[in-house]
């Protein structure tokens, strides 16, 4: 039996420590992990909890992130509750196995502490790694602060392990800005947390000798398409399950999560769509601009990045006039992911708001409240003009001459 961990009603935890406690409270059976900044403390602390007797789990040390996720796949296929954490290059090395995990429908929980991808080498936060994993067939949740990282980890086990879902789940948090920023966090008691997460019920576990199974069979043309289609449907169909689990979580904690979070959108004319801690900073600015400049500003943020909330994001945005989609990842010769996906969603509305793309914060570059104010002011100009008054894609907070691309042909 695991020892009881004494918790205060309010703890001051950073995102990593909050994630570690969620893994401890979920009584994860196996963590196979390889350390990488800024995610290291998630698994380091879990290892400490194991060593100190606070969890009856196994910490498996491996030689790479590829092996870490492989170990997780093996442990999950064998019938264990499994979690790990990584960032950046480590995540890149894991990618091959991410597809195995989702294809085998193994409800592994991965804490992805977002960090830039080299080269140039950089340990600080941006969303390059998150974007790299977006087609891997995982459910992807995004937290904006340490409390949410804790909460979403608990929800992640419930969502992934749900019998109608059975898919791996990533919980994203911003490297350093969330992972290493200590803030007030209200944890659940160990009993309440475990009761919420529930006892793990394995399906098709390899160690059930009464029902031997083959994992990872070869399909070729005859079967592959059908299996990937079923997997995609499971991902799309997880939407109501996620919503129900969020409702249950709210009943327990009073903290409400939605597939798409909207702030001040009731009457918003202009909206920023963003991910991670930027969502919160933008709230500060939107309030300021409403109070001081009369700009009806709002924020829309995908809480669930995959399955992409095409339906909910469209509903959230269809009544505003101009949208700034803010991507914190080098777009690699394209418009940013949020721009593309948000544009596709609002294109199917009759109002078709104007969408522009802001690339910002790469490699941990600070996004100041002043910069967010300027973005909103530009969006307001677009809304008033009824067309895009700038280039479609602009880089924000970059030294040197203004970098911007593509012009609208709508006007």
């Amino acid at each position: 039996m695991a020892l009881k961990y004494e918790l205060q009603e309010v703890e001051v935890w950073d995102g990593n420590y909050a994630a570690s406690h969620a893994l401890r409270q979920a009584q994860v059976d196996v963590v196979a992990a390889y350390p990488i900044t800024p995610s290291t403390p998630v698994v380091e602390n879990y290892g400490q909890f194991v060593a100190d007797g606070y969890v009856d789990g196994e910490f498996v040390m491996v030689e790479s992130e590829h092996a870490a996720m492989s170990g997780c796949v093996g442990a999950a296929a064998s019938g264990g509750r499994v979690a790990t954490a990584t960032s950046s290059q480590g995540f890149a090395l894991m990618v091959e196995v991410l597809y195995q995990a989702s294809g085998m429908r193994l409800p592994i929980v991965l804490n992805l502490v977002n960090r830039a991808l080299a080269s140039p080498l950089n340990v600080r936060g941006d969303h390059s790694d998150m974007y790299l994993g977006r087609d891997a067939g995982w459910i992807m949740l995004d937290s904006f602060n340490a409390q949410e990282t804790y909460d979403l980890n608990l929800c992640a086990f419930r969502i992934g392990e749900h019998r109608d879902v059975r898919l791996p789940v990533m919980v994203n948090q911003d490297g350093f800005i969330t992972s290493h920023t200590a803030q007030n966090v209200r944890p659940l008691s160990d009993e309440d947390a475990y009761k919420f997460v529930g006892v793990y019920e394995p399906i098709d576990e390899l160690l059930d000798f009464a029902k031997p199974v083959t994992y990872g069979a070869q399909t070729e043309e005859d079967w592959h398409f059908e299996h990937k289609a079923r997997q995609h449907k499971a991902l799309i169909d997880s939407r109501p399950v996620i919503e129900n689990i969020f409702v249950e979580f709210e009943k327990l904690t009073g903290r409400k999560y939605n597939r798409v979070e909207s702030y001040m959108m009731e009457d918003a004319e202009v909206a920023i769509v963003a991910l991670g801690s930027t969502v919160e900073s933008a709230r500060v600015v939107a309030k300021y601009l409403r109070d001081n400049e009369g700009i009806k500003a709002g924020i829309v943020a995908p809480r669930v990045i995959r399955p992409f909330p095409f339906d909910a994001i469209r509903t959230a945005l269809e009544n505003c006039k101009a949208i700034g989609a803010m991507d914190r990842s080098a777009p690699g010769g394209a418009l940013g992911m949020l721009f593309n996906e948000v544009s596709a969603a609002v294109y199917t509305t009759s109002s078709r708001p104007i969408v522009t793309n802001y690339i910002y914060g790469l490699g941990g570059r600070d996004l100041t409240l002043e910069q967010i104010k300027d973005i909103y002011r530009e969006l307001k100009k677009n809304a008033d003009a009824g067309e895009i008054t700038t280039k479609i894609q602009q880089f924000v907070g970059l030294r040197g001459p203004k970098l911007e691309f593509f012009e609208t042909r709508r006007g």
Binding site: V10, E11, V12, D14, T37, P38, V123, R124, N145, D174, F176, I177, T178, H180, T181, A182, Q183, N184, S277, T278, E280, S281, R283, V284, G364, D366, L367, T368, L369, E370
Partner: protein, 187 residues
């Protein structure tokens, strides 16, 4: 919102100090944030840590701040770091140094018109004499308690003991001495 910037060297405990301060502040019902600008910096490299304290949940995540307090816990950094960066007319400075306030200010022109807002305390000497190592973060907390007037000393000591409860009693006691001495010695 109260904003605090720590100037430190990696390894001197600014992050632990900022988090410890956050821990204590949170027990008063306030909301806190403690973070740092570091990463792959090696021990000894100049770095900064930050606190925000507010009644409301803190949702700003910009690193940029206009500090109300600047805490310098390494004696050399006042000469190499830009400690007055983004300061306000009310920003208070607590600087660890073996010099007297007048001696220090005479060498730092940027502080000359801020004399009434500059406080000095020798956190290095205090930590060496109490904790036995050059860990100037806890003495700085004692000086901060005095200068900010944010807490009664006894309240702070009591809460800090809880924050340090995982450590051996000897370490807790020496840290309490360090905090108390700095509280009394800051000028």
């Amino acid at each position: 919102m109260v904003e605090i910037r720590w100037h430190s060297r990696a390894g001197q405990g600014a992050v632990t100090g900022a988090k410890g301060l956050g821990d204590v502040v949170s027990t008063t019902g306030k909301q806190v944030q403690a973070f740092a600008l570091y990463g792959s910096a090696k021990r000894g490299a100049a770095m900064q840590a930050f606190n925000r304290i507010d009644d409301e949940q803190i949702i700003t995540h910009e690193k940029f701040m206009l500090p109300d307090f600047v805490l310098v816990i390494d004696p050399a950094l006042v000469f190499t770091d830009n400690i007055t960066l983004n300061d306000k007319a009310t920003t208070k400075y607590i600087i660890t140094t073996h010099l007297s306030k007048d001696e220090l200010i005479s060498q730092l022109p940027e502080l000359q018109n801020k004399k009434d807002r500059v406080f000095v305390v020798d956190c290095m000497q205090i930590s060496l004499e109490t904790i036995g190592r050059a860990i100037p973060n806890t003495p700085m907390l004692g000086a901060f308690v005095k200068v900010s007037g944010m807490f009664e000393l006894d309240y702070f000591l009591d809460r800090m003991k809880k924050v340090l409860s995982k450590f051996p009693q000897k370490i807790i006691d020496s840290n309490m001495q360090a905090i108390t001495r700095a509280y009394n010695e800051v000028k």
